[in-house]
């Protein structure tokens, strides 16, 4: 059994590139047999594009259309039910909590990661050990959300007052604040949702910092020097020069974060599984899909996610069009 799997894996690693290259080689030969350069040039692009587009159609384009259709059907996708699934989502108590939490995530996490990322980028720009400091902040990007969930569950670990705290958060707070009563951070809403959001902030601030830091390096030194000679202090330089020149980078980072945060799933799944008032829509969708086997409602939730992302997508496409022209 084990040997079989290893052979399969080696076969896939070595075989897939060989098959794909062979596809191109033989395909090019076939195209070469077609008479007329013009005809060849007409067929060739489709031949190079088709592996990618077949996969895009199977895994993205067809499913998106299908999910939209399913969202107007009943649990087992056998009957058209109109807007019933959507009405349920916007009236049911627990889905409303999930929607409200997602909104909270969206605002809080985007705001904090972008602000912190900008702050750290500006601060580390002034020190010698910049790259080391940035690497520490950036490191959580390499860690899976599941591992991050374990790390922070351990950080938030709670012991009743009087016993020794093994969770770092309660231990530090007990040490700093006199008479501090240790808290079960993942237990009481709304504190637990904020506790989860901090994990996400810990993971993604480095991402914002990297992009914003690159934007910061793009500001010409002469501009900053001129401002300093004119007597502007650092505070003024930050608000009058750094922020305006970096506005477009900040928007890119913020929109990317909005897209990421909207889909938040893993951290909540691992740390609380959406219980105790921490549910978000992606978790709710998973439950509708697997626990309740309601494909109609699950699809409707996914469509709501997509609709929320569409404005961001349009901004992306527009920005892309500007860059090309």
């Amino acid at each position: 059994m084990n040997v079989k799997i290893v052979i399969l894996a080696i076969g896939a690693v070595a075989g897939v590139p060989v098959i794909l290259m062979a596809y191109i080689m033989f395909g090019e030969r076939l195209i070469g047999k077609i008479k007329g350069k013009k005809r060849q040039a007409k067929i060739r692009p489709w031949f190079w594009l088709s592996p990618a587009f077949i996969l895009l159609i199977v895994f993205l384009i067809y499913p998106v259309i299908n999910t939209i259709i399913l969202s107007f059907e009943n649990a087992s996708s056998t009957k058209f039910v109109g807007l019933k699934n959507y009405i349920f989502i916007f009236t049911n108590h627990s889905t409303l909590i999930a929607l409200k939490n997602n909104l909270l995530w969206l605002v809080f996490v985007t705001l904090v990661t972008v602000t912190l990322g900008l702050l750290i980028a500006v601060l580390t720009d002034r020190i010698k050990y910049e790259s080391v400091a940035k690497a520490f902040i950036f490191l959580p990007m390499a860690i899976s959300a599941v591992a991050a969930g374990v790390i922070w569950k351990f950080m938030y670990e709670f012991r009743p007052k009087g016993t020794e705290q093994i969770g770092t958060v309660n231990a530090v707070l007990s040490g700093v604040i006199p008479n501090f009563a240790p808290k079960a951070w993942l237990f009481n809403p709304p504190v637990n949702t904020f506790a989860l959001m901090i994990v996400y902030v810990w993971m993604w601030t480095g991402f914002c910092m990297i992009i914003l830091s690159a934007g910061l390096k793009g500001i010409p030194d002469s501009l900053l020097e001129a401002a300093r000679i004119d007597g502007a202090n650092e505070w003024k330089i930050f608000w009058r020069i750094i922020i305006p020149t970096m506005a477009s980078t900040i928007i890119v980072v913020a929109t990317t974060m909005v897209i990421n945060v909207l889909k938040i799933f893993d951290i909540v799944y691992v740390m609380t599984n959406g219980t105790l008032g921490t549910e978000v829509i992606a978790n709710r969708m998973y439950k509708e899909m697997f626990n309740f086997r309601n494909f109609g409602r699950a699809s409707a939730i996914a469509v709501i996610l997509l609709v929320a992302i569409i404005p961001v997508m349009l901004v992306n496409i527009k920005r892309f069009g500007q860059k090309r022209s």
Binding site: I5, F136, A147, I151, F265, V270, L306
Partner: protein
């Protein structure tokens, strides 16, 4: 006198930058401590993890153990999961990159009707939430008996990784010098030769960034594995196994800490050794869906 002056300057600089340095060190510590706590705890005996804070491990007598790792690799199935993660991740990294490179080459250097529109479609697909695809793809997989198989998850990750890969590679390949292609065509080189001997070698920086990105993404993925692999432990990658451990062990910290660290090792090594490419990938396409 001069040297005294510069020394004073250095001193002034350090003093004036004191608060800044303290602030930065504080932020770095705050970011590092969570991982450090996990790392230290994973080497402590279970009863000590549960009774005293991990920071006490630095006090004598030192009591460190490898017992947690032994247990979690065998009894909890993390050894098997580590293998599964490798088996899933490597093909799921190679496949999308090569397929995307074909498409990127066509987008960048071939003329055909609807080219810009199709590429815009790819840019649009970048942000489509994976949740939009789960039910139809799962239904399809069930019909084709691909659920719970490595082959299924390979092509799923390939499909999901393609928009970003095509986007990034098309931008890079499109920037390659036109003269290079013209002279190759004049020499009578076929598209196959140009792709293999010109495009791929000159695109190595972009391909490396993309490879790291896709590797990290698949290695750390929970959702795709959770949906398409179901509850089959024989094929579970590490994030799936760990999330099951969290559910079944609750506060079995000796398992959880060591399991989490095992899953973090490889990405952290890659991160530190290839940070440059990772950062470049992030900067090149900060629109990953």
């Amino acid at each position: 006198m001069k040297s005294l002056g510069t020394r004073n300057n250095v001193l002034v600089k350090i003093v004036s930058k004191g608060p800044l340095n303290i602030l930065i060190l504080f932020i770095c510590a705050a970011w590092l401590i969570p991982s450090l706590g996990l790392f230290v705890s994973s080497f402590r005996p279970a009863h000590l993890i549960l009774s005293t804070g991990w920071w006490r491990a630095f006090k004598t007598p030192f009591t460190f153990t490898l017992e947690n790792y032994k247990k979690v690799l065998t009894a909890a199935g993390m050894g098997r999961s580590f293998m599964n993660s490798l088996i899933i991740t490597i093909p799921a990294t190679v496949m999308p990159i090569l397929i995307a490179a074909f498409a990127a080459y066509a987008f960048a250097w071939m003329k055909f009707p609807g080219r810009d529109l199709l590429f815009l479609l790819v840019v649009g697909l970048l942000v489509v939430p994976i949740q939009m695809t789960l039910i139809p793809v799962l239904t399809l997989f069930n019909k084709l008996h691909l659920t719970g198989t490595f082959a299924g998850i390979w092509i799923a990750h390939t499909g999901y990784g393609l928009p970003f890969a095509v986007y990034l590679l098309r931008n890079f390949i499109g920037e390659l010098p036109e003269e290079m292609f013209e002279s190759a065509h004049l020499d009578g080189a076929s598209h196959y030769t140009i792709f293999l001997h010109l495009v791929l070698p000159t695109s190595i920086p972009a391909l490396s960034s993309l490879a790291i990105f896709q590797f990290m993404w698949v290695w750390n993925d929970l959702l795709v594995a959770l949906i398409y692999l179901g509850g089959n432990p024989a094929v579970s990658p590490m994030p799936l196994t760990i999330s099951n451990l969290v559910n079944s062990y609750g506060a079995g910290w000796e398992y959880l800490t060591s399991a989490a660290f095992i899953s973090m090792m490889l990405p952290i090594v890659i991160f530190f050794s290839l940070q440059k490419y990772f950062v470049r990938g992030i900067l090149a396409g900060s629109v990953k869906g």
